[in-house]
Amino acid sequence: MTILNNNKKIMNPELKIKLFLVDDDAVYLKMLEIEFLEHGDFYIETYATGELCLANLSHKPDVIILDYHLDGIDKDAINGIETLDKIKAFNPDISVVMLSSQDKIDVAIDCMHHLATDYVVKSETAFVRLKKIITTIFQLKKLEKTLNWYMERM
């Protein structure tokens, strides 16, 4: 049944990919939103804080683009890694791509250790990378589903 529904979802163009964009940098957040709205078939919700993102997980996002440095403006705000952990605790199937202006290997590794799908540095190419990653995520998910489908019949 599950696989049938999923197939339906894939085949039905009406169902857009639901994307959460989470960044306390309003300018960058808006920029991302514009890019995603123009370059893909996405349903987008944007949140300025990790708290807001977590509060709205019930909207069932497929992918969350999450800023690493969420406690930049408000020092008491929940940071990106904590948000990531909570998202994963809520539903480990939600793919989370971390976004940071720091091009640091330890930040990237930290994100991976916390089960982020990928890590992207904020730059001119960030959007292209994000789009690519989202495509890959869905390809992977589709592969997994196909695999499961065959596994069920083996």
Partner: protein
């Protein structure tokens, strides 16, 4: 009577519930066998010991037992009895006091119901059966007793009455006796007279005297006994009144007493009659002496009889009393029972019941008594059958029925009944115990459904290894019917019988087995894990084994599949990763390809333009020499072809630029009117050649100076006008410029180019703004052109927030119109980057041309000579600088790509080392943004694309030189400054938002909102040495730099500050950097505010 007592006793003994009587000191005075079993102690040991010692919680037991004394009874107090071996039995403690016939509390009767059995429904059933049987018996007795009691009470009152009558009779008797005595004396006188009168009668008279003496003696004796009888009767009356007070103390034996009482009464009556007779006889005695003797003898005998009966009466009283206490004991047992007890007569009417039935039916005892027994069951017919079965078989056990409460509540009961008989063995009725099994049934149903619901096969196996019971899952797994399985050897169902045997032997040994792997033979060979444990009866005897065989086939299959799935998933993941890396490299390649294409176009432009430059330039030069008519004609053809080719190349490049998002719009002040007329001037020759009219309509209300990109505006109008000229063969071309709206900040201007040409069919109108589209495929053959012109126009108008539209009628003409908004400015734009009219009379301008290619040098020199300017040449930057230092020039034309020192380096040197403000115009074939931006950065004033249009070259040179000449260099500097320092660039934003003004405004307003707090946070963080705050503030600034087109230099500065903030090393210059960041951000905010206003005021 003893029989009854004994019967009650055996009932009590047969009870499985421990029954104990305790005296007020808490010592056990009596108990039944169940109590002995549960404690494991013999009766002898139990009797006289402290009752509380057998509970796990003596204190609680004491409280319960005190409660019995206090309240008279207690029900269902949970306690735990301890077996001497330590086994614990949970019991519900029910007790009530029992009293002697004087009402004194003799002790407590306790029933400790073993509730452990509730856990074992089956065992409970056995116990129930026994208890039910006992209850039957008890009920039977109770009913008999009840009857007897009623009769006894009636008889007692009768007896009393009769006793009273007896007293009266006795008195009369005494009176008669005294009369008799008198008469005896008279008789003696009479006898004396008789003996005197009748000598023959002497012998008999003597005997009569003796007899009379004796009679006298007997009479006095009789009197004494009558007195004793009075006393006895008084006692009896007293005891009877006691009996009345305790109506329930009755016994069947009273029947006999009643009978004897009636006998006594009869005798008393007889006595009275006898006495009467005696009196009669005494009166007759004189006449019939012989009869008197006989009568006396008889009287004597009767008196003896009476005496005997008095004794018997007393004995009866005693027995009655002891029976009453025994009855009381039984009755309290019966009433203490929680199970409904009913006696029914042979007609099916209820004769008696206990409190439990009253509770369960909700009727009163009075209502119940005499009513039809079956009425209280949901299934009357079934109840009747059961009841008939009792009569037929003498008893019935555990018939399930349902009792109905008058309130409608149903109670499931197990119906146990047996007949009871009178002494003669006649069936009197039925005693029924209806045990409430609602809870039990629920429990049992629940357990059963649990067992049946289990998907794991469950077996019970006897000690011999035979299967005794199983659930549905077993049937499913083995594929055999229940009937076929039950009774078979357990081990036969497994592939390895020895192992299976081992399993259940292990269970018997250890009492349990856990996860023992076996395989069931069921066609599929199901792998199972066996779990089992023994089950026991309530005495702890092992009855068999319960085994659960968990099917692990699925588990095994899942485990295997999981392993496979993991392997495949890993493979898939690696494939996906490969794909990802391939895709990434593909992206990289694609990006590189785009870059390469751009580079290629750039190179193309350079490589094609350079020779074209020479061809066209020298054709022009050649045309100025003396030529024959033919030669001139050919040269004209070469020039026209060259011009067309250059236009085509420029169009392609423009479009490529637009597509690559590299089209940049400047914001510089310019004079609209001048700009338009200069541009139209270029077409005058052509229009005249075609004999067309050119009409210019210019709205005088348009502000003189506006801010915008005049170059692009020219390009748009140029394209439209050249199209109009191209497609119009007769008539006129009208160019109109009107002010549409104006406010304090901006002016919106509408431009229209109208022709009287061939027109465009309506169906083609929608397509003409697309790349490479012309109204008809034949158009290009007739009129030439690439079809790019209008596409470029559209691409130039729309990114500036303008709109373009077309109206056309075939063969009548077309009107192209567009609207653009321009900001107003107060600065008087003297610098006209547009085209200055050729007739400006400035001569003898000294020009330094820096150009490495000799062909180009020659061309440039020819052109400049034509203009009448003085020209000097330098083949690279170094030579140019040397020349500049030795000779004064008015302007430099600087090629960018040169050996030794290129144009950028040279300009940089001129500006920074020589500190000369001499105007420099870049000559470039490379028209990509990077170079243009670079030109401005190093300090060049303007640029000209090669091949050089002589008119543009002239106007630019004149414009720049004139400004320097007329001493307005200060203003120029200001404007230059504005241009140079403008730190933001909307190019990225325009590209990203596709020039959508709403999105751009949103972005800008977000930046304006976010940035000032970041600036102050950065400053504060730096001043207070709060490095963390400094870090985060700067960190947040970085992404917006590139979005707002702020130079990468600032971004690097910010990164430096950020690094400093995190490491707190290399503090040198950080203060400067922070300051610079602040300045650039503040400036960016100002610029963006202007930009915001500009966009806002631009009509969509």
């Amino acid at each position: 009577m003893n029989k009854e007592l004994h019967y009650a006793r055996s009932l009590i003994e047969a009870s499985l519930d421990p029954l104990v009587t305790i005296n007020p000191k808490g010592k056990i005075t009596d108990m039944n066998e169940a109590m002995a079993n549960i404690t494991g102690l013999s009766r002898e040991k139990l009797t006289g010991t402290n009752f509380l010692d057998y509970f796990t919680e003596p204190q609680k037991a004491r409280e319960v037992y005190q409660e019995v004394f206090a309240k008279g009874s207690v029900a269902d107090s949970p306690l735990t009895l301890r077996h001497k071996d330590g086994k614990l039995t949970n019991v519900l403690f029910n007790g009530s006091v029992y009293k002697d016939d004087k009402g004194d509390v003799q002790g407590v009767v306790v029933v400790a119901r073993d509730i452990a059995e509730q856990k074992w429904a089956t065992e409970l059933r056995i116990a129930n059966k026994e208890l039910a049987f006992q209850n039957d018996e008890k009920e039977k007795r109770a009913n008999e007793l009840f009857f007897a009691n009623k009769e006894l009470s009636f008889q007692n009152s009768e007896k009393e009455k009769r006793a009273d009558e007896l007293i009266i009779a006795n008195k009369e008797l005494a009176f008669q006796n005294s009369e008799k005595e008198k008469r005896a004396n008279e008789l003696i006188v009479a006898n004396k007279e008789l003996s005197f009168q009748n000598s023959e009668k002497e012998k008999r008279a003597d005997e009569l005297i003796i007899a009379n003496d004796e009679l006298a003696f007997q009479n006095s004796e009789k009197e004494k006994r009558a007195n004793e009888l009075i006393i006895a009767n008084k006692e009896l009356s007293f005891q009877n009144s006691e009996k009345e007070k305790r109506a329930d103390e009755l016994i069947i034996a009273n029947e006999e007493l009643a009978f004897q009482n009636s006998e006594k009464e009869k005798r008393a009556n007889e006595l009275i009659i006898a006495n009467k007779e005696l009196a009669f006889q005494n009166t007759e005695k004189g006449k019939r002496a012989a009869e008197l003797v006989i009568a006396d003898i008889e009287l004597d005998f009767q008196n003896e009889e009476k005496e005997k009966r008095e004794t018997a009466n007393k004995e009866l009283e005693e027995i009655s009393n002891s029976l009453k206490s025994a009855l009381q004991y039984s009755l309290s047992l019966i009433e203490a029972s929680l199970d409904p007890l009913i006696t029914i007569n042979t007609e099916g009417k209820i004769m008696d019941m206990n409190e439990a039935l009253v509770n369960i039916t909700g009727m009163t005892r009075e209502e119940l008594t005499g009513s039809d027994f079956f009425d209280y069951f949901t299934e009357i017919q079934m109840a009747r059958e059961v009841y008939q079965e009792v009569f037929a078989k003498g008893s019935v056990a555990d018939s399930p029925l349902t009792l109905r409460h008058k309130g409608g509540k149903l109670t499931d009961v197990l119906f146990n009944g047996s007949v009871y008989k009178d002494d003669a063995g006649n069936v009197m009725g039925v005693v029924i115990v209806a045990r409430d099994v609602t809870a039990q049934k629920l429990l049992s149903n629940y357990s059963l459904s649990l067992i049946e619901a289990s998907r794991d096969p469950l077996f019970t196996i006897s000690t011999e290894g035979k299967i005794t019971d199983l659930n549905e899952a077993t049937v499913r797994v083995t594929g055999e019917s229940r009937e076929n399985i039950i009774g078979n050897d357990f081990i036969d169902f497994f592939t390895e019988p020895e192992k299976a045997r081992e399993v259940y032997q292990l269970v018997f040994e250890k009492g349990f087995v856990v996860d023992y792997p076996l395989t069931i033979i069921d066609g599929k060979l199901t792998d199972v894990l066996c779990n089992g444990s023994v089950y026991k009866d309530d005495r702890g005897n092992v009855l068999g084994v319960v085994l659960v065989a968990r099917d692990i086939t699925e588990q095994k299959r899942i485990a295997t599949e999981l392993t496979e799935a993991i392997v495949i998933a890993e493979m898939a993941t690696s494939i996906a990763e490969d794909a990802k890396s391939k895709a990434e490299s593909a992206t990289l390649i694609a990006e590189n390809a785009v870059k390469a294409k751009q580079q290629f176009l750039s190179n193309m432009s350079h490589e094609i333009r350079t020779p074209m430059n020479a061809i066209i330039g020298f054709t022009k030069v050649l045309l100025k020499t003396d030529l024959s008519v033919k030669q001139r004609e050919y040269l004209q053809a070469i020039k026209l072809s060259g011009d067309a080719l250059i236009v085509l190349i420029n169009d392609i490049l423009d479009l490529a630029k637009v597509d690559a998002g590299k089209m940049i719009f400047e914001q510089v002040p310019f004079k609209m009117a001048l700009s338009i007329s200069a541009m139209l001037h270029l077409f005058e020759t052509k229009i005249r050649e075609k004999n067309l009219g050119l009409v210019k309509e210019y709205d005088e209300n348009i502000p003189e100076v506006l801010v915008g990109d005049p170059v692009r505006l020219h390009q748009v109008i140029l394209n439209l006008v050249s199209n109009a000229v191209k497609f119009t063969n007769k008539g006129k071309i009208t160019v109109s410029v009107r002010l549409i709206s104006e406010d304090e900040e901006k002016a919106t201007i509408g431009f229209a180019v109208k022709d009287t040409g061939i027109g465009i069919a309506e169906i083609k109108l929608g397509k003409i703004f697309e790349n490479f589209q012309q109204a008809s495929s034949g158009t290009s053959r007739l009129y030439g052109g690439t079809g790019l012109g209008l596409a470029i126009v559209k691409q130039l108008v729309e990114p500036q927030g303008g709109t373009i539209s077309v109206k056309s009628t075939v063969n009548e003409g077309s009107t192209f119109s567009f609207e653009l908004s321009f900001l107003k400015t107060k600065s008087d734009a003297e610098l006209d980057t547009g085209i200055i009219e050729l007739d400006a009379d400035i001569k003898n301008i000294k020009v330094l041309v820096v150009e490495d290619i000799p062909l180009n040098q020659l061309l440039m020199k020819t052109l400049l000579d034509d203009f009448g300017f003085v020209c000097d040449l330098a083949s690279n930057g170094r030579i140019a600088i040397d020349k500049l230092l030795t000779k004064p020039y008015d302007i430099i034309l600087m090629d960018l790509q040169m050996p030794e020192m290129n144009g950028f380096e040279a300009t940089d040197y001129i500006r920074n080392n020589i500190h000369s403000n001499i105007p420099i115009i870049a000559l470039t074939a490379d028209v990509t943004t990077v170079d243009l931006a670079k030109c401005k950065t190093v300090g060049m004033n303007d640029y000209i694309a090669k091949p050089v249009d002589e008119r543009i070259l002239y106007s630019k040179i004149v414009g720049l030189v004139k400004k320097t000449y007329t001493g307005e260099s200060i203003k120029e500097d200001e404007i230059l400054l504005v241009n140079k320092i403008k730190c933001t660039d909307m190019e990225y934003l325009i590209r990203r938002t596709k020039s959508n003004p709403i999105l751009m405004m949103e972005m800008i307003s977000l930046y304006l909102k976010q940035t000032p707090p970041l600036i102050s946070a950065m400053k504060q963080g730096f001043e207070e040495k709060d490095w963390a705050s400094l870090y985060t503030a700067v960190h947040k600034m970085i992404p917006s730099f590139s979005i707002m087109g702020i130079s990468i230099d600032f971004e690097n500065m910010a990164k430096k500050v950020q690094e400093f903030a995190s490491t707190q090393q290399q503090t040198e210059g950080i203060s400067d950097l922070v300051q610079q960041l602040e300045i650039v951000c503040v400036q960016a905010c100002t610029e963006l505010e202007d930009e915001f206003q500009r966009i806002k005021n631009t009509p969509v």
